[in-house]
Symmetry: C3
Subunit: 262 residues, 3 copies
C-alpha cells in the first residue's frame, strides 16, 4: 500500500476532470479540491477534447444522466482513451434500473476503463450476477462479494472497488480489503461519488491503477472514520463538510496510524 | 396527528423519487436520506417508468425547469397516476412568474396530485387569488391564508400545505395549523424544497395524505426549531447541515415534546 | 468606499437573478439569501424576460455551460441590456479552455456589462495578455496584475474585479486594492462564484458599479477573513457554511473594523 501517494498527489496537484451527477457535484468538487487535486467539470461536448487533454484523469459518474449527457460521456471517454487518460466509472443504481445497466454495459464494452467503483448491487449487476438492489442502495444478495468483484475486474481487465461495510479492491487476481468504515458514509448521499472522484485523483498521479485505487480507498475511509469517531452523535448533515475538512487535514501519518486493511 | 409515522417511515425505508430543482438538490437528497427514506433522482425519460414503479412516491419541484424537464415531469407524473403513486407538487415561484403558473396549472389540470406545498404567494396564485409575490419569496397579500389554502385544496381535491410563519395544512375541510417555526427556514434557500420532499417521504408510507402531510410538517418544523434554539446566533449557513443532522437524530419523543399545533 | 451600502442592500432586498453553474449553485443561492438579497435562478428561455424584469441585476457565471445554456445566456443578457439591468460576468476557466474564451469574447463584444469578476488567468485571457492558467485555477504569469485589469476595464468600459491574494478593482482609471484574504477561499470551490454573485447583489442597489464592486469585494473578503481567523485549523469544508453564516451576521461596524484596502 503506497500511502505516500498522498504526498505525490499534493505535490503534483493533478487536474481531475469529473462528469459528475447534479445531486452531489458540489461535495465532489470540494472534496477533490480539499484533498489537493484540481477539479474541473463540464457538460459541453465542444470543450470535451480540450478538457481531456489538460486533465490527468477522467471520472464519470452515471448517477443521473439524460440522453444528451450520455452523448457527452461517450465523447469524453473516447478522447480519454485516445489521449491515454485513465477513466474511473461510478455506475450509480445500475443494479436497480435496467436502462442504466444497459447504457453502462455499452460504455464498458466500447471503452477501456481503469477503475469501476460501486456498491455490491452495482458491481453484481455489471458482473452479471443476480442481486436484489434497492434504488441507490446496495440491497442484498447471496453471492460472495470478493468473487463478484473479481469476476467484474476480469471481465473488463480493470480494477474494481466494491464498497460496503468492507471495501474490496481487486484487479481480478490480487484482493485488498479495507476495514475502515463508518455508518455515516451511508447517511451522506455523496459518499460513494466522493470515493470515486478520490480514486480519480490518484489514478491521475499513479500509473498502477490497482495501487492508486487502494491508496485512495484507504485515505478516504480513514478520513471518514476519523470524522465519525470525533462525533458524540452521528451527525448525518455535518458529516459532509467535516469529511471535506478531513480530506484536507489528513496526512500520511494519520492514514498509517488508522489504516486497517489486509 | 400520527407522530409515530416517523417510526413507520424508518422501518419501511420508502423510496422517494424526486424531480428536484438543481439549486437545492443536494440538501433535498441528504435530508431524505437522513430522515430514513431512500432518495432517487433522475432527469431521463427513458428510465421514468422504472423509477416510478420502484418508488413509493413522487415529489416534483418546479423550482427551475427547462422545456425538456417539463416534458420529463409530464412523463413521470403520468406514470405516477397510472401506478397509483402519490404525487407531491412544489410550485416554486408560480406567484412571481406567469410562465411557471401556466405550466403548473396545466399540470394540475391533467394529473391527480396528493399534496401541493408552497408559500402563501404560490398557493394564492394556484388558487386564483390576487397576491403580491416577490421572486421565490412569499410576498404579501390581503386574503385570509386559511381560506386560500382551502380553496386550492377543494379545487384539486388534494391536501394543501401552505407554509409560512404558521404552516397551514388542509384537505379543503379540516385545517391543522403548525406553529413551530424559525426565521432560519427563510434564511436557508432549500427549506421549502426539503419540507416538500419530507412530505413526499411520508405519503409513501401513509395512504391518508392529509395525515401524512401533517406529520411531515410537524416533524420538519420541530427539527428546524430544535436546531435554531440550539444556536446562540442565527447561523444561516450552518443551519443547512444541522437541519439534516436533526432530521436523522429526531425521534417521536422529541417531536411530541415540542410539537405545537391545533 | 461606501461600506453602508450593506445597510441599503438589506433594506431594499434586491432580487438577484443568477445564471449560476451547476457545481456551486447551492452555495451561491444561500450566500445571496444570507447577505440580505433575494436569489432567483432559471435555465428556461421562456421565462427569461419576466425574470429580468423583476430582477435588480443579472449575474452570469460561465462555469459550466452547454450550447442550450449559452443560448439562454444570450437571451437573458439581451433582455438585461434592454431593461437596463446591470450584468456581472464570471468568466470561469476562460484562461484554460479556448472554447470558453471564444464564447465569452463573443458575449462581451455584443453586450454591455457592468462588472467582470475573475482570477488573474481569466482576466488576462479576456484582456488578450499571455498567461499560463491551470484549469479553474489562476495559474501564473509575468504581467503586471493591475495593468491587465485596467486593460480589460478599458476594453469593455466596465469595472473589473481581479481576485487573488490581493483583489484588484478598477474602472480602467482608478484602482482599489483589497488586502483582506484567506487561503480558505481557494480551498472552497464556490468562493469566486460567491464573490461574483455578491457583486451582483450590490450593483442591484448602487448605480455606480465601481463603488458597488468595491463594497461587495471588501464585505466578502472581510467575511471570509473573519471566518478563517476563528478557525484553529483550516477547515476547507466547514468554511462553506460558515462563510454563509458570516455573510448574514456581518455588519458595517465589523467591515469597517477589519477592512484593509487602499
Amino acid at each position: 500500500m503506497k500511502i505516500d501517494l498522498l504526498d505525490t498527489l499534493r505535490e503534483k496537484n493533478p487536474i481531475a476532470f469529473n462528469i459528475s451527477n447534479f445531486v452531489t457535484v458540489q461535495d465532489v468538487a470540494n472534496g477533490i479540491n480539499a484533498l489537493g487535486a484540481s477539479p474541473i467539470m463540464s457538460e459541453e461536448k465542444n470543450e470535451a477534447e480540450a478538457m481531456v487533454q489538460m486533465a490527468n484523469s477522467v471520472t464519470v459518474n452515471l448517477g443521473a444522466f439524460t440522453e444528451a449527457q450520455l452523448n457527452q460521456i461517450d465523447t469524453v471517454t473516447t478522447f480519454a482513451n485516445q489521449y491515454d487518460k485513465p477513466i474511473v466509472i461510478d455506475p450509480v443504481a445500475v443494479g436497480a434500473v435496467s436502462y442504466r445497466l444497459e447504457r453502462c454495459n455499452e460504455l464498458l464494452a466500447q471503452k477501456k476503463v481503469a477503475v469501476i467503483r460501486g456498491n455490491a448491487g452495482e458491481i453484481a449487476a455489471l458482473a452479471g450476477v443476480e442481486w436484489n438492489a434497492k434504488g441507490i442502495d446496495a440491497g442484498e444478495g447471496a453471492g460472495d462479494l470478493v468473487d463478484i468483484a473479481k469476476k467484474l475486474a476480469k471481465k473488463y481487465q480493470c480494477t474494481v472497488v466494491e464498497s460496503g461495510k468492507t471495501d474490496i479492491i481487486t484487479n481480478g487476481d490480487a484482493v485488498v480489503k479495507v476495514f475502515n468504515e463508518s455508518d455515516l458514509f451511508k447517511l451522506h448521499v455523496g459518499s460513494g461519488d466522493m470515493l470515486s472522484s478520490t480514486i480519480g485523483c490518484f489514478v491521475g498521479v499513479e500509473p498502477d491503477y490497482f495501487e492508486a485505487a487502494q491508496t485512495a480507498t484507504v485515505i478516504f475511509d480513514v478520513a471518514g472514520e476519523v470524522v465519525a469517531k470525533s462525533m458524540a452523535k452521528p451527525l448525518a448533515g455535518s458529516f459532509g463538510p467535516q469529511l471535506i475538512d478531513e480530506l484536507h487535514l489528513i496526512d500520511t501519518k494519520t492514514v498509517e496510524k488508522y489504516a486497517n486493511f489486509e
